[in-house]
Amino acid sequence: MWRVLDRSLEMIELFFFTISAVAVVAMTLSVSADVAIRSTAGSSPGWLSDFPTFFNITLAFTAMAFVFRRRQHIVVDVLLLNLSPRARRVANIVALCIAQVYFIALFWGGTQVAWRSYELGNMSFTSVEVPMFIPQAAVPLGALLLVCEGVAQLAKALRGDA
């Protein structure tokens, strides 16, 4: 049961990681297209330079959890290297609990902000107007994935199979 849950979480994280990879491709293409169209036709559609920022936001927030699972985030190992395996495990558990404070706050705050934007019909400043709650939803979404991933890592650490 636990295995299935963990595996599903990984698939969901991988899905958003893949979305982020697509976002990188889209960013590259739209910025280059912007340059190409501008230098041939004189002006280019504004969304070509507006959307890359949204893609970057998607990338920044939603790929974090998968990178966290793969332990690819940058960590300061100065103290860890001098700890016994047991002490290191305790440090890891404490760290995961503290990280939850950040994840939950980001999730809660992000939900408030995106929800209010939805409620009040807040639109983006871009030339093609987009409801702001769509890009803003990347914040609570990314944070929710981090909450789940944090819990999964905590469970593994407590069971001792991390």
Binding site: S39, H73, L81, A91, I98
Partner: protein, 426 residues
């Protein structure tokens, strides 16, 4: 009390092995919640976190990372490497000098120091290591060379300083050039005199050099396209990253038969990994900056120094030390936004040259990019080197912190280094 919590809490979380990005964010949340006691206040962190990425300038980061990754994935990099070897192997430290100099050239393209380090690091560090350079030396060299991005014009840091202080961008750009070149010279001097670098090898014939240069033609055209496009008014530095990435990918497909769609997809995935590592730290760092501003921590520390009854020069040195301390923990934009409004009136009241102070500030911000525990360029290098531990990175950065400090002291003692060029251009 909150001061201790802010700096001490962050160090503690980092030591526990919490990823840097989350340690910064958790400290920001804890500070704010302890200060206001209201969970609802975390909404402003969500707004600030979104804002930290909601900028077209930051789009340059993943684009330059993609450029670096696709460069490293194709044979274009090996050909550049062979050509660099043929040209420099008879000179002691030749490759290192070429690397630092390319940091100087890239600084004239990009206004940011982290993109500078991450892009050039991906291209040059593997080459240096293959040629027997120590891993730490190669890492430290690029981390430090990358900081030139802020000092050598164009520089986003100078544009921000100008807007906050009503000083001339033209003067600031001109003033940054000589100190930038000074720092470049100091880096080369350090490399030749103090660093352990591999011995020189016999020179290859001019014929061989020319043919190596010819095979690297595709790679050598890249800076020409990028610089030409930017200075010719075809595209901005951010757009140059996308054009450069497309160029490198196209060259890979045309000239390297091993580079297929699978290789491209791998480059894109690596780009997501590297960018996410760095962007998540950018988010965490702006959140910590946000909380510190709300709690008025940097404002109070700076005000305390200003209030000391000391001669102006000592106050200035005190302020520079405070900025250096802030540089250990916060990102350049936060530091500038927090400190300049408080410090600038004091500086002008004492009669110091605002352009000179701008240069000193940017040099300190640069120093902050390579000082632990939070040094964005150190993270940039770590994000592209899998076998480099934090401990090693910090140790490697130490001598370069010294080099930057020497450059700062020179500009502090001889303001002419900064003020001479804008003076004659005026």
């Amino acid at each position: 009390m909150e001061h201790v919590l802010a700096f001490g809490g962050l160090i503690l979380l980092l030591m526990l092995g919490l990823p840097v990005a989350f340690a910064l964010g958790a400290t920001a949340v804890a500070l704010l919640l302890i200060h206001t006691g209201n969970l609802y206040d975390t909404t402003q962190l969500a707004i600030a976190g979104f804002k930290s990425i909601d900028s077209f300038v930051l789009v340059a980061l993943p684009l330059y990372v993609l450029l670096g990754e696709s460069f490293a994935a194709g044979s274009i990099s090996q050909r550049l490497y062979r050509s660099a070897s043929a040209l420099t192997q008879h000179m002691r430290g030749g490759l290192g000098i070429a690397t630092v100099s390319s940091c100087g050239v890239f600084a004239a393209i990009s206004g940011s120091s982290m993109t500078n380090a991450v892009t050039l690091g991906r291209i040059t560090i593997p080459e240096m290591r293959a040629r027997g350079y120590d891993k730490g030396l190669a890492a430290g060299l690029v981390a430090s060379g990358g900081t030139l991005g802020m000092l050598i014009p164009p520089s986003l840091a100078f544009i921000l300083y100008s807007a906050l202080t009503d000083t001339s961008v033209r003067d600031l750009f001109a003033a940054g050039l000589m100190p930038g070149l000074l720092q470049l010279a100091l880096l080369i001097l350090f490399l030749l005199v103090m660093a352990r670098i591999p011995a020189s090898q016999p020179a290859v014939s001019w014929n061989e050099r020319l043919s190596a240069l010819f095979t690297a033609g595709w790679a050598l055209a890249l800076p020409i396209i990028v610089l030409g496009g930017i200075y010719g008014g075809v595209f901005t530095a951010t757009e140059a990253a996308a054009v450069g990435a497309i160029y490198v990918i196209a060259v890979n497909f045309l000239t390297d038969r091993d580079f297929d769609l699978g290789a491209l997809w791998r480059s894109v995935r690596l780009t997501v990994e590297t960018s996410t590592r760095l962007l998540s730290i950018v988010i965490g760092s702006s959140l910590l900056g946000h909380s510190m501003i709300i709690l008025q921590i940097p404002q109070q520390i700076t005000a305390a120094v200003v209030a000391l009854s000391l001669p102006p020069m000592l106050i200035l040195i005190g302020l520079l030390l405070v900025l250096t301390l802030l540089g250990c923990f916060l990102d350049p934009i936060s530091i500038t936004l927090i400190s300049v409004p408080i410090i600038f009136p004091v500086i002008t009241a004492f009669g110091f040259d605002p352009i000179w102070f701008g240069v000193l500030l940017v040099m300190i911000l640069e120093l902050g990019m390579i000082t632990p525990p939070v040094g964005m360029n150190l993270f940039a290098i770590q994000s592209i080197m899998d076998d480099l531990r934090t401990t090693e990175m910090w140790r490697a950065a130490l001598p370069f912190v010294g080099v930057s400090a020497v450059a700062i002291i020179v500009v502090l003692m001889f303001p002419e280094v900064a003020t001479w060029l804008p003076g004659i251009l005026r």
